[in-house]
Symmetry: C2
Amino acid sequence: MTEQLLSYTYEHPRPALAVDCVVFGLDEGALQVLLIQRDAHPFAGRWALPGGFVRMDESLEQAARRELAEETGVRPAYLEQLYTFGELARDPRGRVVSVAYWALVKLSDHRTKAATDARDAAWFPAHGTPRLAFDHDRILDQARSRLQAKVRYQPIGFELLPPKFKLSQLQQLYEAVLEKPLDKRNFRKKILGMGVLEELDEVERDVAHRAARLYRFDRKRYQELVRRGWSFEI
Amino acid sequence: MTEQLLSYTYEHPRPALAVDCVVFGLDEGALQVLLIQRDAHPFAGRWALPGGFVRMDESLEQAARRELAEETGVRPAYLEQLYTFGELARDPRGRVVSVAYWALVKLSDHRTKAATDARDAAWFPAHGTPRLAFDHDRILDQARSRLQAKVRYQPIGFELLPPKFKLSQLQQLYEAVLEKPLDKRNFRKKILGMGVLEELDEVERDVAHRAARLYRFDRKRYQELVRRGWSFEI
DNA sequence: CTATATTAGTGTTGTTTCTACACTAACGAA
DNA sequence: TTCGTTAGTGTAGAAACAACACTAATATAG
């Protein structure tokens, strides 16, 4: 019986290989992160990053996407490798090396799904998380730094917003990620000056104040500009 | 017999875990990379990045340093994780996931050692490398991009120079890494204006032209400035 | 229907940073 | 003494950045 279960044998010992995902979303202008509550040993009851072991027939990114979908129902449009954590004692079960990924999702798309598909998945403020299992606090820290760095020179912020948004939402997003206030007029001047936003013939509705114009990120235009040597920078 | 050799058994199959290293040096102002020539299957005879399998009693970084020392004799002062490569078919021997590292060394320290300790290690121009084994061309590409990006906002260039250097060496370094010419006066103004270079009471010797003043990177001063919120940028 | 609360939207000015650019100084070798 | 070679220096115009305050539009409360 044990024979049948423990049936993969190698000449040299191998660490187990896992993936973990840090998924960011934006809720009412506040940066959120997706966690799951562990129900098994070790760290049972603790919140942790979604993740799991890599299978032999899938790449690392595929493993990250699969685990994320299985555990939370989330299928991010933007997913990128973060860092590989390989300290000897990071998992009490033994030697587990984990390749961490980070992702951005439009919360509007995923709020309901995550609530239904996965019993124990929930969004937390990216700062106000409880103490996480394993070395996941460190992974989350690193993901936040990476997002903060990357959002400055890549137009990835749009992955967090609905397709149509107003400039104040975009500004709030940058303020949330960069953790500092921005000047409204300078921000608008800069972002509109880039020419990567498409101004729509549409304004927001049902608001108790002046309605804001809606915009859309013009990916085609962005790629064209990049091809000509331009680079996004906030 | 086989029983004794193939003696590590797991419930689930595990990919093998390796590390590979991209080591950069600077030779006469030209960026070089350290390669080893493989003598075993697969890719016997091809040049490859130094690397090997991770042991159970060492962290990933330790594995990278160990393999690098064993295969090339090089012990870099600066070493950082690059990316983890986990495509299914990247190694013909089977599923091997490789955590790549990149490093900077002062070539003056390592030129002789590498030549003696390791028969089959050699420096190549970072661009004019032969076709490498495995997916190592891709890894090298990525390391070059990372170096190029990082050298702009971290004072890591100094890791490539001897402790005392002249400004024209520093400029050459940046030109080699960034692959574009820089204006001498603007470069000097900028780098000296930072206040992280210590001007020494020493000039170069035995040159058939006006001798250049020597400088040293002032790490203490740099760290002090960082503590005050300043950031290096070229 | 008027007033109020709330968010949208808009330009200018002074400061700093960036870029382009050319000559003199010092030294050894011929 | 001359020549070849690299070191070392300043300015001016352009561009980017930072600071800053009022009017416009809409729903709601009184």
